[in-house]
């Protein structure tokens, strides 16, 4: 099972490789990927450097081109695909149908991974993408229970990659408009969820108000541990309740250390760590824990148990300092 780690820049890429990532995924320095943050991502020159580094230690890198081009701008996305092919990327992570078509026609040898943003959650959708565009792998949205992942893995015509750790999207990815509803920008179009330039914190007595494009999404204690502000993790009121509540989800991160044996038995080929926007220190810390966990599992699958110190290390870098199995666990749903 591959350990696939995020690399927002060369420093993170090195950190991931040093800490034992089998593969990394990267994006270009523009809005062709869904982590288009200032100071992040790779220019064509940096991508070459990244390719060299990865190849020299015999690991793999995948290029993420997972936003959806709008009319008149398609050329930039096509050029990104051309660049991926030239760079020798070991895979291209794509969501948009026109881009899958372009890549399939122009670079049939370049392995296509269906991005989570394509929101394919079932056998019919996966088979269709495989038949039409010869995708090799699909990244599953974080809406499936472990049982559903196992069922799908039994019959899937393509390799499956799942999210193992990181920020928890609670909606079917690629089809969530909460960010654009409030800010006008979403991962699909603008390249990020809840863009930082729309976030504003205000202190008011012992409270901290969190605003997203002026909309109050939370009011917390000054010392309360909060995650990155997104609409689905805000505290709101209903007509029936007086106290504000996390109506959708509270700040927490996904962690599936406990599921490694089940995911491996199901035949999942890759475990993805989320977080191209996070620091090299984060990437190093998380990669180390996951490398240790996977090595422990591979050495003695039947005796595997997630260690407390791993969980503690991951909780430290998690939103709200807590983790959850998310939708993998039916009771969460």
């Amino acid at each position: 099972m591959e350990l696939l780690c995020p690399a927002g820049n060369l420093a993170s890429l090195k950190a991931a490789l040093n800490a034992g990532a089998d593969a990394v995924y990267v994006g270009l320095k523009d809005d062709t990927n869904a982590r288009s943050f200032a100071g992040l991502n790779f220019t064509p020159q940096k991508l070459q450097e990244a390719a060299h580094l990865v190849n020299s230690c015999k690991r793999k890198f995948y290029l993420t081109i997972n936003t959806f081009p709008q009319p008149g701008q398609e050329k930039r996305w096509y050029q990104a695909i051309d660049l991926a092919a030239e760079s020798g990327a070991h895979g291209l992570i794509v969501a948009d149908i026109s881009l899958l078509d372009y890549a399939h026609q122009h670079y049939p040898e370049l392995p296509l991974h269906l991005s989570v943003q394509a929101s394919a959650t079932n056998l019919a959708a996966l088979s269709f993408y495989q038949q039409q565009f010869n995708i090799q792998r699909a990244v599953l949205p974080r809406v499936l229970s472990i049982k559903q992942v196992k069922d799908l893995a039994k019959t899937s015509p393509v390799d499956l990659e799942v999210f193992a750790f990181g920020s928890l999207c609670i909606m079917a990815e690629g089809r969530c408009q909460l960010s654009s509803y409030v800010t006008g920008e979403s991962p699909n179009s603008g390249g990020s969820c809840s863009p930082a330039r729309h976030v504003r914190w205000q202190e008011q007595g012992n409270s901290r108000l969190t605003r997203l494009n002026d909309v109050l999404i939370d009011c917390s204690g000054i010392n309360e541990q909060m995650g990155y502000p997104v609409v689905c993790k805000g505290r709101y009121l209903t007509e029936d309740t007086e106290a504000p509540q996390f109506l959708l989800e509270s700040p927490t991160s996904l962690s599936t250390l406990d599921l490694i044996p089940e995911l491996a038995a199901a035949g999942v080929v890759s475990l993805k760590i989320e977080g191209r926007q996070r620091s090299p220190a984060y990437v190093e810390q998380v990669t180390k824990v996951w490398r240790a966990a996977l090595d422990k599992y591979l050495a003695a699958p039947e005796r595997y148990q997630a260690q407390e110190n791993w969980q503690a290390a991951l909780a430290k870098v998690s939103e709200g300092q807590t983790t959850t199995l998310g939708a993998y666990e039916r009771s969460w749903q």
């Binding site: 081009p69 959650t121 019919a124 690629g174 909460l178």
Partner: protein, 282 residues
Amino acid sequence: MKISLGPLMYCWPKSDVYAFYEKVADSNIPLVYLGETVCTRRRQVKWSDYLALAKLLQASGKQVVLSTMALIENSSELPELRKQVANGEFMVEANDMAAVAIAQELNQPFVCGPSINNYNRATLDKMATWGMQRFVMPVDLSGEWLRQVLTPSPSYEAEVIGYGHLPLAHSARCFTARLKGLTKDGCDIACAQYPRGILAQTQEHQPLLRLNGIQTQSASCCDLRQQLAQMETMGVSWFRVSPYSQDCISVANALIAGETAPLTADACNGYWFNEAGMRRVV
């Protein structure tokens, strides 16, 4: 410009659903979409009931399209979806790529619903090769996007959700059940108590979202009635009213009669102007 009626996205008692569509049958609305699109646990109104309603509506001279589920997570749902696509009488609205896949395989024409990611002309043209006859613009796109995509005019039709609460997201989690302290598997169909979803407001009492089972909608009603003439010029074929009460039938009838209406005070229309969806642009 022709007016269509979108599928009912809420869980209403069966009698209310029937009363609603009987009223629709008496309306002037030429195109009606119906079917469960949100949750398979809502079994009060079954597929066979929807088929019967579709026949009733067809008999009153309406075009009918059967809408299918927006998020398909279980393999066990696929045979049912296949049966729906292969119904032999009515076109379906695909709201998940699974439905597109099955329609293409069975050589059945289909409509692409708003939750299919059609973000550019090349994608839409590809969909057309698979049998797409019409697409509903994804809710987050703008008038300018539409103008560009419809130039030159394509072989398929365009439809815009012009009135109603916008479907913004779908989750594995049922927010209604969660709020009631129930599990998804033991939800007691809690959403049936909320015929227009649960209104979620900010702590400053600004309406923000509507929780409708696993679906999250805009709290505000999107209102693009002012843009109707502009849409017509662009080549949009259908203006969709997405119903949240029987009043929406009157809204549709008024539009068909050519009546104009001012932008309501609590409406949103931001997406059309390439702004935040919840904005009200005047």
